[in-house]
Amino acid sequence: MRTDNLIPMIGVVTEIRQDTPDIKTFRVEKPEGGKCFEHMPGQCAMLSIPGVGEAMFSITSSPTVKDYQEFSIKKCGCLTEWLHAMEPGQQIMIRGPFGKHFPVEDALKGKDLLFIAGGVGLAPLHSVINYVLDNRDDYGKVDIVYGSRSKDDLLDIDEIQSSWMDPANRMDVHLTIDRPQEGWDGHVAFVPTYVEELGFDPNKTVLVCGPPIMIKFVLQALTKLGFQKEQVYTTMELRMKCGLGKCGRCNIGDKYVCKDGPVFRFDELDELPSEY
């Protein structure tokens, strides 16, 4: 039984990358080096700056990375503004991991996987994708559909191009942006439309993450293609404080997103009030 869940540990931000105009990726290590804790893909951690606040972020890096954890964070509030203003070498407080992870070791194993992400929604899936990549033989065919508002808003584009799109890795990556843009010769469409266009085999297991409106339409598209809700996983974002399922604010129905989520299968969500 752990008792230190409320007390954070000190983490050092060792590297900061500007991914898109409003998203930065932060690499966090222990002051003496090494990962702050072990985690599984889809789990989250609480990052805080004393005096500013604490918030839950999904861990972007794969558990297979041994030395550090990474967080891709979009600037949208007080704490994230502070984080974005940070310099490498600064310390922050970190506690975790929290929540349920994607079932990479059971339900997903051996399956054909379809990842669908929009905008910063790639962050939690990033961890799974790299985990799958590092255990490539455990899984079947992998497709990734990723879209954003513009080409400048595509997260991790360098890694996508150099690693995910590397034929050696046997993954099909389908990129799209919302509107035509100079310098973009790839696909232009909203993610749900593109998913429908691509017409995937409904035997795949789907992991989807993005803005609520995107998820809604992706689900419709998948249903059209013959997917069942039991095949689709997503991850949720709500206001959280304790991370332990006690403080009450991420309570939806009889679930606590921080403890029972953030990863849910869509048939599970159907049994919950639509308060997310």
Partner: protein, 337 residues
């Protein structure tokens, strides 16, 4: 069964207070609340309800958890040691005593809360049976017997005599030196109390359908808008409630460092779930619904049917606009039993 003349109550308490804190219903500025007893305190065992419940003793409204210091780019954190002092909480009524079981489910489930756990461990709970339930008491609906509350020891007041019964070793240690007594007077009082309790206006609320199986049905019930209309969105019901346990974690910059503390929060507050880009409970209807759904559906769904309400009647007495859980149960209840 032991007994003690009410006249010697102070003397007995002084003896206990010599070794550890005694927390009891105390009247200050015209209100009865749990507080640390001193010989100058005006103890009010006769008060049916304290304004705030007894949960403060284990889960205080504000509690400092840790301190941070920053030097240059470096941070340091210092956890506050959970208070490990023994104390006695005295005069807890049956409803509040049950609330501890409910809070235990939350704070002592994995991962357990070190602050709450430390207090629970160091507490001796002395309960007091009710002699005069009020018209808005409804604990009996939740299988609570106001005439025989639990705890480490149980007290009854019959006329000028305090009867005590130890239920645990902790309780035994507390009462062992008192004079022995027979339980005839207690039994008589219990019978009377139970008789009144059965006749209370809310003695038989229909709780059928308040379970996990009817979650979506209750959630989508059309009555919520009407029920919540007059809700001011204040936190009175939450803060007087013995089972409400939502909290907030906040930082306070003292100028010399940062204190991270937790304090009670209320799902009735508009900022409870507010994030930078909006909230998933935009109006008071959703917030109001959350509070009662949690007590009557979500909590029992996760806890073998145990409701997160003990029928203490505080929200009935204290809501500024007379909204309360009984109105919710009645509006949402199935057919009359």
């Amino acid at each position: 069964m032991k007994k003690l003349s009410l006249n010697s109550l102070n003397q007995w308490l002084e003896g206990i207070a010599g070794e550890r804190r005694v927390i009891a219903p105390i009247e200050a500025a015209d209100q009865v609340n749990y507080g640390v007893w001193t010989p100058d305190s005006k103890i009010r065992l006769d008060a049916l309800r304290t304004v705030k419940s007894a949960k403060d003793a284990f889960f205080p409204q504000v509690e400092n958890m840790m301190n941070f210091r920053a030097e240059g780019k470096n941070l340091s954190v210092e956890m506050i040691d959970p208070k490990a002092e023994d104390f006695v909480i005295l005069g807890v009524k049956a409803c509040d005593a049950r609330s501890f079981d409910i809070l235990d489910r939350v704070f002592l489930s994995d991962p357990y809360d070190p602050f709450y756990a430390a207090r629970r461990e160091h507490a001796t709970v002395v309960t007091l049976a009710c002699g005069r339930p009020d018209e808005n008491c409804f604990c009996v609906n939740f299988g609570i017997d106001p005439a025989d509350p639990k705890g480490d020891a149980t007290m009854w007041i019959v006329d000028d005599t305090l009867y005590l019964r130890a239920n645990t070793e902790k309780g035994e240690a507390l009462v062992k030196d008192l004079e022995d007594a027979d339980d005839a007077a207690v039994k008589a009082q219990q019978a009377k109390t139970r008789e009144v309790a059965e006749k209370l206006p809310f003695a038989r609320l229909n709780l059928k359908g308040f379970d996990g199986d009817h979650l979506m049905e209750k959630f989508n019930d059309p009555h919520w808008a009407e029920l919540s209309r007059a809700c001011l969105g204040c936190g009175t019901c939450t803060f007087v409630c013995p089972t409400c346990q939502c909290y907030d974690i906040r930082d306070f910059d003292t100028g010399h460092g940062v204190q991270r503390y937790r304090c009670w929060d209320s799902c009735m507050y508009s900022d409870f779930t507010l994030m930078a880009h909006g909230t998933n409970r935009p109006t008071q209807v959703e917030r109001f619904r959350q509070r009662f759904m949690h007590k009557l559906i979500y909590f029992p769904s996760n806890n073998e049917g145990m409701y997160s309400c003990v029928g203490c009647g505080r929200c009935l007495a204290k809501c500024p606009q007379n909204l309360n859980i009984v109105k919710v149960i009645k509006a949402l209840g199935g057919d009359e039993a």
